[in-house]
Amino acid sequence: MELSILDGYDPQGLYCEMLRGSASHVIRERLAGLSIDVLKDRAAAANAELYNLGITFTIYSDARTIDRILPFDVLPRVLSAEEWRHIERGIIQRITAINLLLDDIYHDQHLLRDAVVPAELILGNRNYRPLMRGIDLPHKTYVNICGTDIVRDERGTFLVLEDNARTPSGVSYVVENRHMMLRAFPDLLDDVSLRAIDNYGAKLIAALQEVAPPGAADPQVVLLSPGSYNSAYFEHVFLAREMGVPLVEGSDLLVDDDRVFMRTTGGLSRVDVIYRRINDDYLDPEAFVPESMLGVPGLMQAYRAGNLALANAVGTGVADDKAVYAYMPRIIHYYLGEDPILPNVETHICREPKALRYTLDRLTELVVKPVGEAGGYGITVGPRASLQELDECRAKLVADPANYISQPCINLSVAPTLVDGRIEPRHVDLRPFAVTGSGTWVLPGGLTRVALQRGSLVVNSSQGGGSKDTWVVE
C-alpha cells in the first residue's frame, strides 16, 4: 500500500480545509495515488507554464520590467455543495443590501434619517460622491462586480472580512488556475463533478448589457484599462477576451455632445457601457483629479445625462469602507429585515461608548484598526504588541474613538500546501466573485489565496501570497 502524500501532514490544531471539509474525500482519495516527487514535478511544470503563458503581473523597476506569476499551489481547495450554497446565499444577500444602501444614500437617505449609521460616516466619507445624488441607475445596480473576502475561523464558520465593491481583481486567476489544473492533473479531475466556471465572461457581458442606458438596442460594451503597464493588465485582457469586447484606454475614448465614442479605423463608434478598471478619482479629469491622464474628459457629463453605464457605478467605495463594514449587519437588517447569512468578523465600533470600554478592557486580545487607512497601516495587533505600543494605542483610542474599530484575532483556516518540496499547512482565504445586472450571480468557488510564509496570515499577492484552484463539488 502506497503512502499518501498527506501522511506526515499536521494542521497543528487549526481548522483544515482538506481534513475537515465534508467533500474533500474526493481529492484525498486521488492524492493517495501520487508520490511527492510526481507532485513536485508537475507543480514546477505548471508554474513554468504560467510564466510562458504570460499569466503574470508586472513589476516595473528602474531599468527593466519583471514579470512575476502569482504562485500556483497544485493542491486544490474543495468546498461541498452545501458549503457553497451557504456562501452563495450570503453573498447575494450582502450585495442586495449594498446596492440598496447605495441607492438610498444617493437619493432619500432613509438610513441616515433613521440614524442606523451616523450621517457623517457616509456623507463625510472621502469615497462618497455628491455628484451621484439623484442619478437613477438601471435596476438600481451600483455594484455590478463584487469580490467579497471571506475567511473561516477555528470552528469552520465562514465570516466576511471585507467587501470589495470598487474594482476587485483576481477573477482571471480563478479561471486560469482551473485550466492549469486540468492540464497538469487530468487524473485528479477524472470523474469529479465540479461546478463549471467557464461562463464567467458570458455572465458578465449579459449583466453589463442589462444595465446599458435604455434605448441602446445592441449595447456596445468596452473594458477601460489604465494600460499595459498596469499590474493587473493580464486580467483586463482576460476579461475583454472572455466577453469579446474592445479593451480600451482613456485616449481611445472621447465625449461629444454628452455621448461617448471610441476611435476606430472606421471613425468614431458609439460606446454604451464601460467596465472600468480605473478608480473614480482618475475617470474624468473634469470631474475628479484634474491631472489624470488615464481618464476621459466629459465622461461624468455623459454619465449624468444617462447616455452611459459605468460598472461599477461611481461612488461605490463608500460601501466597502472599513467603518461602514462594521455597520453591515445592521444595514442588512434595515433593508432586508434579515439577519446576515454570513456574519461579519465580530467588530466593535469604538465611537459607541460600550464598544470603546470593551476594547480598552481587552486591548491585549484584540486587533485595533483605524477606519480611514488602507493597506494595514496603523493596525495594533494586541497579542503581539509591546506594552508601549499598547499604551500608545490606548491614548489614540481615548483621543479619537470614532476613528477606530476593534476585532478579535482570527486564526484563519489552513489547507495543505506544497512548500519547499513538503506538504505543510498554510492559511487561506476565499474571494468569490459576484456579477449583478438585474439579478446577482456568483461564480462557483472563487479565488483561494494562500499565505505561503509559515504562520503568516497575509494572503496578498504583493506580500508573498499564492493561489489555489477552488472546487465546488456536486
Binding site: Q220, R241, D252, T265, S269
Partner: protein, 282 residues
C-alpha cells in the same frame, strides 16, 4: 469585433508585423555576413551593416570599430540598442501584449517565450561556433510567428494591417540592402563583374532569402537584374502584396502609405527606403 477595430490596435498590429519582419531580416543579414563574407573585405562588410541601419552615430559612440564581435553583440543582445534583435522582439512582444484581446494565445505565448529566450542570451552565446545555430533559431522563431499568425489570425481588418506592416518593412529592408551594396560596398565601376562583386551579390541574395532558389531559374552569372520579380523579397512583389491590403483597409491614409514607396525601376538603388530610421518603441 471584425467591423470595429480600434485605431490604436491597427497601429499595434502594423508595428507587431514590422518588428518581427525586421528581426528576421536582421538575423538573415548577420548570418550571411558571418558565414559568407569572411573575406578580405570583412571590416567593410561589418561596417556596412551598421550603415544599412543608419546607426553609425550611435554605434561608433560606444564602439571603436565595426568588428564581427562588436556588430553582432550590438545587433543581437544589446537591449539598449533599439535596432537590435532583442529590442525588436521586445517591442513586438509589447505590441502583442496590447493586442492580446485580438490575437491567439499561441501567437502571444510564442512571442513571449521567444523574447524571454533572447533576453537571457549572453556574450557566450555569440561565440563564432554558435552563431550560425543562433541565427538559424532566430529566423525559425520569426517564421514560426508568421506561421502561427497565418494559421490563427482573424481575416478581418487587423489582418490587412498585419500584411501592410510586414510588407512595408520587407520593402524597406530590401531596398536598404540594395542601396548599401550598390553605393557603399563597391564604389568603383571597374570592379563590376569582378569575383568580389559576384560574391557580394551572392551575399545580397542570400540575405534576402534568395540564394539557392534563384540560381536554377537563372543559370547565368548573378547580376542585379536577376533579382526576379517572383521572389518574396522582391520590391515590386512586396508592393503588389501591400497595395490590396491597404485598399481593403478602406482608409485613404493607409493606401497612400502603401503606395508611398516608389515603384521599382531597373535602377535598383532608387527605392532606397523612404522611411529611414523608422522605429518607435511600441
Amino acid at each position: 469585433m471584425s467591423d470595429v477595430l480600434l485605431a490604436r490596435y491597427a497601429d499595434c498590429i502594423f508595428w507587431l508585423a514590422r518588428y518581427v519582419e525586421r528581426a528576421e531580416n536582421l538575423a538573415r543579414i548577420l548570418d550571411v555576413n558571418e558565414t559568407f563574407s569572411r573575406d578580405g573585405h570583412g571590416g567593410q562588410n561589418w561596417r556596412s551593416i551598421v550603415q544599412l541601419n543608419s546607426d553609425e552615430e550611435r554605434f561608433f559612440a560606444t564602439h571603436p570599430a565595426a568588428t564581427a564581435q562588436s556588430v553582432v553583440k550590438f545587433y543581437v543582445i544589446d537591449s539598449a540598442n533599439p535596432t537590435s534583435i532583442v529590442s525588436a522582439i521586445g517591442y513586438a512582444r509589447e505590441n502583442a501584449r496590447t493586442l492580446r484581446p485580438l490575437i491567439s494565445t499561441e501567437m502571444w505565448v510564442q512571442l513571449n517565450v521567444f523574447y524571454n529566450r533572447l533576453a537571457a542570451l549572453s556574450e557566450d552565446d555569440l561565440m563564432p561556433g554558435r552563431l550560425a545555430a543562433l541565427f538559424g533559431s532566430i529566423k525559425e522563431a520569426c517564421q514560426t510567428h508568421t506561421g502561427i499568425t497565418e494559421g490563427t489570425f482573424f481575416r478581418d481588418q487587423g489582418w490587412y494591417f498585419y500584411q501592410l506592416g510586414r510588407y512595408i518593412e520587407r520593402a524597406d529592408q530590401t531596398t536598404r540592402l540594395l542601396d548599401i551594396k550598390y553605393h557603399l560596398l563597391l564604389p568603383s565601376l571597374s570592379d563590376v563583374g569582378s569575383p568580389i562583386d559576384v560574391s557580394q551579390w551572392n551575399a545580397v541574395l542570400r540575405s534576402a532569402a534568395g540564394g539557392a532558389c534563384t540560381r536554377p531559374a537563372r543559370p547565368r552569372p548573378v547580376w542585379p537584374v536577376s533579382c526576379c520579380s517572383t521572389r518574396p523579397f522582391h520590391v515590386r512583389c512586396i508592393i503588389a502584396y501591400a497595395r490590396p491590403a491597404g485598399c481593403s483597409a478602406k482608409s485613404s491614409r493607409i493606401t497612400r502609405c502603401a503606395t508611398a514607396m516608389p515603384p521599382p525601376k531597373s535602377s535598383i538603388a532608387c527605392a532606397a527606403s523612404s522611411e529611414r530610421s523608422t522605429y518607435r518603441q511600441f
